[in-house]
Amino acid sequence: MQTFQELILKLSEFWARQGCALQQPLDLEVGAGTMHPDTFLRVLGPEPWRVAYVQPSRRPADGRYGDNPFRLGKHHQFQVVLKPSPLDVKDLYVKSLEAIGLDLTQHDLRFEEDNWEAPTLGAWGVGWQVMLDGMEITQFTYFQQAGGLELKPISAEITYGLERLTMFLSLSQSIYEIQWVEGLDYGQVRKQEEYELSKYYFEVADVAFLQSQFEGFEREAGRCLEAGLVLPAYECALKCSHMFNVMDARGAVSVTERVGLMKRVRDLAVGCARAYVESREQQGFPLLGPAAKTQETEVADAAR
C-alpha cells in the first residue's frame, strides 16, 4: 500500500533526476499549480526551465464539508514543467508512472483529448487527460499561450492529482482513508480543515470584506507594476483571483458582476506577464545559454 507522501517522494525523486529544480509550494492561495509563478511566469519568454513541486490547490466551490469521499475544497497537485518540451516528454511521463510502482503491462493507459484553458490567466494549451484503467490520473498540457502572449519555446506541463492517484493506487473508497504516512490517514490530517474551510467559504466569509480585499489588492497590483515590481504585482493578482473564488463560492457574484470581475483578474495577469517578459529581457534573459542569447538578441534587433 502506497502512502500519500511516498507518492510525493517518488515523483520528486524521479523528476529531480530529469534535471527539474524541486521548488516548494507557493505560500499563497491558488486554484492550481499552474498559477505558481514558477509555471505561469517561467513559461513566458525564451529561457529554458525545468521545475517540479507540490502545490496545495484551493477550489472553494468544490468544498463538501468533509462529507463527500471524492471531493475536496483543497487538494494537492504535483506539478512538472519542462521548457522547451523535449520530444520524449511523454516517454518520461510514462517512466514516472513506472517509478511510482505501476507495472504498465498490467494496466490500460490511454491519452484522451482534453484541452486546457484559463481565461483569467489569458492562457490555453492543448493536451490530454491521462486515463489509467478508466481513471483520470494526470492532466498533460502543451502550453500555447499565457498572459495573452504566444509562447516560444513551448512548455509541457504535467499535473498529477495526488489524492486521487493515491486513492486509485490503493482502490480506497474514500479520500479520507488514504494513508498520509503509515499509521496516519488523510482524514486525521485534513478532515477538520475541509469542514472548517467549507463552512467559512460557503457560510461565514464576509462578502464586503472580500470585496474590499479584491479592490485593495487590485490597486496594489497596479502600484507594484508601476514601480516595476512584477512578482509582488503577480502575487496581488493571485490574491484577487482567490478573493473572487471565495465570493463566488459564497454565492455573492451576480451574473453581470462575474464577467467584469474575471476580466479585471485577467487584465492583471496579462499586465504581469508582459511586465515579466520585459523585465527578463532587461536582465538579458539570464537563463539563456550564450549561443541562444546571441540569437535572441539578433531576433529582438530584427524585430525592432
Binding site: 471524492f70 490511454r110 478508466g134 519555446p153 451574473v255 464577467v259
Partner: protein, 706 residues
Amino acid sequence: MPRGEYLLEVLSEEIPARMLEPGVRELATRVFEELMARGLGPREVETGFTPRRLVLILSGLPEAEPDREEQVMGPPVRAAYTPDGKPTAALLGFAKRTGLEPEQLSRVETEKGEYLSATRKIEGRPVAEVLAGIVPRVLAGIAWAKMMRWGNGEGPWVRPVHGVVSLLDGQVVPFDLYGIAAGDRTVGHPTLSPASFAVAGVEDYKRQLAERAIEVRPAERRSALYAAMTARAEALGGRLVEDAQLLDKLTAICEIPGVMEGGFGEAFLELPAEVLTTSLRDHQSALTVVAGNGDGEGRLLPHFLTVMDRPDDPSGRARSGNEWVVAARLADARFFYGEDRKAGLAHRAAQLDRLAFQERLGSYAAKAERLAELAGVICDQLGWQDEKADAVAAARLLKVDLATEMVKEFTSLQGIMGGIYAREEGHPEAVWQAVYDQYMPASSEDRIPRGRAGMVAGLADRIDTLAGIFGLGLIPTGSKDPFGLRRAAQAVVRIALEGGLPLDLDGVVVAAAGLYGDRLKRGAEQILEDLRPFLDDRVRYVLGLGGYAYDEIEAALAVGGGGLPDLKARVDALHKVRGEAAFLSVVLAAKRIANIVKDAPERTLDESALVEPAEKELAAAYRGLRSEVEEAAAAGDYERCLRRIADLAPVLDRFFVDVMVMVDDENLRNNRVALLQAIGRTVSRTARLSEVVVDRAEARAKAGAA
C-alpha cells in the same frame, strides 16, 4: 518488377478521437488528387488510423509520370532571319536555350503574328520523386480542427510527430516532417510491444502489426468491438444498448480493440436510468446493458461495457480500476440526486437569478418570467385555453434544472432532469413531459415534444432566444453560430409544421421582443427583417428533407401568410400537380403574365372595355374561376385550387395567341394589364407559379400528348 505499392505511416502522440477520421480522409483525398493531376493515379487507396498512427496505402501506382511535350515560344519569325534569310542572333540564342538545332524549330501562328517555337520533350519523374514532394506538403497542410506547437516551436500540427514510414516497394521515399526523417521503422503498442522494428513493405507491415494485435483499420476495430460487446451483453443475460456515436469514439481511442466489462452495485439502480446511462457514457465512455426478453425487459442491468487498448486484462487491474471509478462517479451522482430532491425545484428556481442566460440578456430567472408570458401568448394565438395553465407552468419550470447539481455535472441531462424531478414532485403529466421534452427535436431524426404544452414551451424557449440574440444584432454568419440559433430556428419550424400549428410567427416574435423591455438594441421590426429570411432558410431545409423540390418551396414561400402548416399544404399540392400537362401550360402562362405585368402599377379592370373575343372569353372564364379558387383555398384544398386554375390553360393560350397586350392605345393596354394582374393574383393564390421551373421540351411533349 515494381508493384507500385506505397506505404505511409505517420506516428504521432495521441490524436484526438474526433479528428482522426477527417484527418486521414483529407490526407488520402489530397494525395490522390495530386497524383491524379500528374497522371499517377493509383489503382487502390487504403486508409487506416489508430490514436497514434495515420496510415495510407496506395497500390498499382504507375512507375513514373507520363513523358510530355512542352512548347516554348521563341522570337517572332520576322526577327529570326536577316533580310537575306540568315538566322539572326535571336534565333540562334533561342535554339541554344532550348537545346535544339535551328532546323528543329517550328513556326506557330499567333494573334501577334508568326513566331518560332520549340517543342521540348520532358521526361516524367519517377513516382518516388513525386511522392517525396507531395506527401510531406499534404501532411503539413491537413486542416486539423485544433493545432499546436511543441518544443522550440515546431509545428503547427495536431500533435508532435515521432516517426514516419514511407516506403515504395520496400524502398524508403525520403522526406522530412517537422525534423523527423521518413524511414522504414515503426513501433508497436506503447506498453505491450514498445520496441521499434523495421518494415519491408505493405504486406510485412500488416503482418507485423497483426502479430502485435494492432488493427489499423477502424471499420475492423469497430466491428470487432461491436461483436464482442454484443456477445458479452448476451452472456450477462441482457442486450447491449446501442450507441453508434459512442462506438465510433471507442473505435478511435484504441489500436487494440479489447472489451472491458465491469459491474456496479445493484443499489445504484435506484437512480433514474437516464442518469446512470449519462454518467456511464460521459465519464466512462461506457455502454449499458438492459434486460432482454422476459421479466423487466428494457430495465438496466448493473453492468457496463467499454474499451481498453489491450486484448485482455490478465491481472484484473483494468476491470477493478474501471469499476472503482464508476462506483465513485455513481456515488457522486447519487449525492447530487439526493441534494436536488432535498432542495426541491422551488428552491432551485430561486437560484436562477445567478445563472446568466446571455451576458446582455440577463439571467435565467428573467428568462423564466418571459417564457411564462410567451407561452400564454402562443396558447392564446392557437386558441388552446385548456392547455394554457399547463403550458405556462411548464414554461416557468423549464430552465429550473440548470440550477440543479445534477445538470451542473451532466449538462446533457438538461431538460430531462427537470422533467424527472417535476414528475417526482407530482406535477401534472403534461407539465413534466413538457419540461422533459423541451430540447426536442435535438436532431433531424429526433421527434418533436409529445403534448401541446410541450410544443408551446419548446416554441417559447426558442423564439425567446432567437428574438433576444437577433435583438442584440448577433446574427449567425457562415459556420459561426455560437448560440445554436440555426438549430433553434429549425426546431421552431419543425414543431409548427409537424404539430400542425397555424401560428403567426411574426406576432410571437414581436411579443417575445417586447418581453425583453429595453434590453435589446433593435426593435421588433428590425429583428423580423433579419429573422424572417433566417427562418425561411430553415423552412427550405426542412421541406427539402421532406422531398420537395427547391422551386416548389420557393414558389410557395413567395406567397406569404397562413402559417407553416398552410405553407406545407401548398407545397404539397404543387408537388402533386406539377407534372400534369394542363398545369404546366398554366405555369408557362403565369411566367408570361409575371413578365408582362412586372413593372406595371396596379390597374383596375373595366370588363365592358374589353374588345377581342379571346380577352372577353378569358375575363368570363376568370370570373367563374375566382370564387371557386378562393373557396378551395379557404378550405385548404390547394390541389383542387391548382387543378381548377389549370382549367384556365386553353383560354389563356388563346388569349396570348390572339391578343396583343402592349398596344399603343393606352386605355386598351391598361385594361389588359389589369385583367392579367387579376388573373396573376388568383393563379398565385397557392404558390407563385412563375417560380416553378419548367423543362420546356417536356412541357411541349406533354401538351402534345394531352
